[in-house]
């Protein structure tokens, strides 16, 4: 068990290095030049050169990457070339709100998706199945920004919830009310995939041999669905949710922009566009690490939940 975990983490580091390299290469080629941007519309050649020297941007790219790796290895993610803020601190500050947003989004959308999926699976091929699936797919079919802005318009008219910013910690009313809209918009992305996977996995599990055995024991249909079918169907669903975290992060970029949520997604987009490569690179590494960790966690969960996987070690 710990062995697998260590091995899994070892592989993750290899993957992370790959992410780092690709990220760095791409960011290097982005035409945005922070020095020019800082100098502004009226900046002169000399000013730009001075700024560039000052930021260390005059070094060749491979040298910069080596410096970067050295610093990373020493636990230092560097500083923003735009405002010299320590990348790690900035990301850490933005990570909390993003995790909060994603967590709340998942908190409502996963149960809803599960419920939809169960309803559909139990009525497979029926009218309810079609309706439920159509509804749940809608969430992934409309651009998030459109949904978000529509919600903002509704909220302005009804004055139901605050429309921008983070109100504070989640346990305060202010914090809670601020997260309602962004979490709703973001969660919509997840409902469809979860519902779809639940439907497929459960429909399969409902007629699995061991579920039939449970019925033969005299278990009631409810018990059969919840204790036996859903329990085994949960494995692929959890795996899917782990992978969907990536999509959710993508959605968070947009949601954070629309609802002025101070998260990593917005930070990352801003940094990429501005050519602030230590910050962008940091954000990419952070998000990739988060994704990898979540999926390691999913693997562990699966291992805990499925003795077959557990004993493979």
């Amino acid at each position: 068990m710990t062995n697998t975990l260590l091995r899994r983490l070892g592989v993750s580091i290899v993957v992370l290095l790959g992410v780092l390299l690709i990220g760095f290469t791409m960011l290097q080629v982005i035409p945005a030049d922070p020095a020019v941007a800082i100098a502004g519309p009226q900046g002169t050649e000399e000013e730009v050169e001075a700024i560039r020297r000052h930021l260390g941007l005059d070094q060749p790219a491979p040298v910069q990457f080596v410096y970067y790796l050295q610093r990373i290895a020493a636990g230092d993610m560097g500083r923003s070339v735009i405002n010299n803020a320590p990348v790690f601190d900035e990301l850490l500050r933005a990570l909390g709100p993003t995790i909060e947003l994603m967590a709340v989004a998942m908190l409502w959308s996963v149960p809803v998706g599960l419920t939809f999926g169960i309803l559909a699976a139990l009525n497979r091929g029926g009218v309810l199945d079609r309706i439920v699936m159509a509804v749940s797919v809608m969430g992934v079919s409309v651009p998030v920004f459109w949904v978000g802005l529509l919600m903002i318009q509704l909220a302005v008219q009804t004055r139901a919830f605050p429309i921008q910013g983070r109100g504070g910690p989640l346990w305060t009313w202010d914090g809670l009310s601020h997260i309602v809209l962004p979490a709703t918009a973001l969660g919509l992305i997840l409902v469809g995939p979860v519902a779809r996977m639940t439907r497929t996995a459960l429909a399969e599990a409902l007629y699995a041999d061991h579920v039939r055995t449970a019925r033969a024991k005299g278990a009631s249909e409810g018990r059969v669905v919840v204790h036996h079918a859903l329990r085994t169907a949960l494995l692929p669903i959890v795996t899917l949710i782990g992978l969907q975290v990536g999509t959710l992060m993508g959605g968070a970029v947009v949601t954070e922009t629309i609802f002025s949520w101070p998260g990593v997604g917005r930070l990352a987009v801003g940094a990429i566009v501005a050519g602030d490569y230590p910050m962008a690179q940091g954000a990419i590494v952070f998000l990739a690490t988060a994704f990898i960790l979540v999926n390691v966690l999913v693997d562990i969960l699966n291992e805990l939940a499925d003795p077959r996987i557990r004993s493979r070690t």
Binding site: G18, I22, M26, V269
Partner: protein
């Protein structure tokens, strides 16, 4: 093949669940292709003083922020969007498929190929697309490239999974035993049988690709004017969502129809596949 002909095509694929979304997709694509015949307006002719007119007489869906006929813009925009979705998915699928099949077929490559895929998968796809689009500069080809590369890892994974289960079938060994070269084993045997789940997933990826393109438009990395593209129309129209909701809404609705149909088609194809398997 030889003189041996195809006979029956197996299970019932042409069910309503397949036909309806496919029909919608084809209808939308046809309308986009025939745009010049369907509308008398010039998609590039601006008329600023006629801007943001609500749907009604003259302009069926109203006008956009430049006073162009919105319906016309949408029709031409659908062309671009389908082009991006199609070409991007095709590119991503071709790449992903090759990687996935090779990983399953040449077991020695599996480890390294899958790590590469993991790298791409761990890269938040929107940031990936964003970096790529920013790197290559705005333009159709870079958008297609960005979209393609972000759908690639998913397809590679699915392909590998599907191919692995085919690899376990006796007929793969059967092909080897009669002395078939790898080229034929990979295509005639592996691909020919592994494709259904891949196709299904590709339909879903097609929807994702279109949404990704729209999101890049929202983030300011869409196509350059005056090219019409649904995502960009929806993204730009969002500024007027409160005063002229028809622009963004109509474009979003069209995106919705395309993505939903692609999703439904993917689901239905999978269900059809399921049924045939049992």
């Amino acid at each position: 093949m030889t003189d041996v002909q195809m006979a029956d095509s197996g299970g019932r694929v042409w069910r309503p669940a397949v036909v309806i979304p496919l029909g919608i997709l084809i209808a939308i694509a046809a309308a986009a292709m025939l745009a010049p015949l369907l509308t008398a307006f010039d998609p590039y002719e601006t008329e600023l003083r006629q801007r943001l007119r609500p749907p009604g007489e003259g302009n069926l869906l109203g006008t956009d922020s430049q006073g162009r006929d919105l319906l016309t813009r949408l029709l031409y925009g659908t062309r671009t969007t389908l082009m991006i979705g199609f070409a991007g998915t095709l590119f991503g699928a071709a790449l992903g498929l090759t990687i996935g099949l090779c990983a399953a077929f040449y077991r020695r490559l599996d480890m390294i190929l899958m790590r590469v895929i993991d790298v791409f998968l761990s890269f938040p796809s929107i940031l990936f697309g964003l970096s790529l689009a920013a790197m290559l500069g705005p333009g159709l080809d870079s958008l297609i490239f960005a979209v393609g590369l972000s759908v690639m890892p998913g397809i590679a994974r699915i392909s590998r999974g599907a191919a692995l289960s085919i690899m376990a079938q006796d007929y793969m060994a059967g092909g080897k035993v009669i002395g078939l070269p790898d080229r034929l084993l990979l295509t005639r045997y592996l691909l020919a049988n592994a494709y259904p789940p891949i196709l299904t997933y590709t339909m879903l990826a097609f929807g994702d690709a279109i949404l990704l393109a729209a999101t890049l438009g929202f983030l300011g990395l869409g196509l350059q004017p005056p090219t019409a593209e649904l995502g960009s129309i929806a993204a730009e129209g969002r500024s007027f969502l409160f005063i002229a909701p028809h622009v963004s809404t109509a474009a979003s609705a069209l995106i919705f129809a395309i993505v939903l149909s692609a999703n439904m088609l993917g689901d239905a194809l999978r269900d059809a596949g399921d049924r045939r398997a049992t």
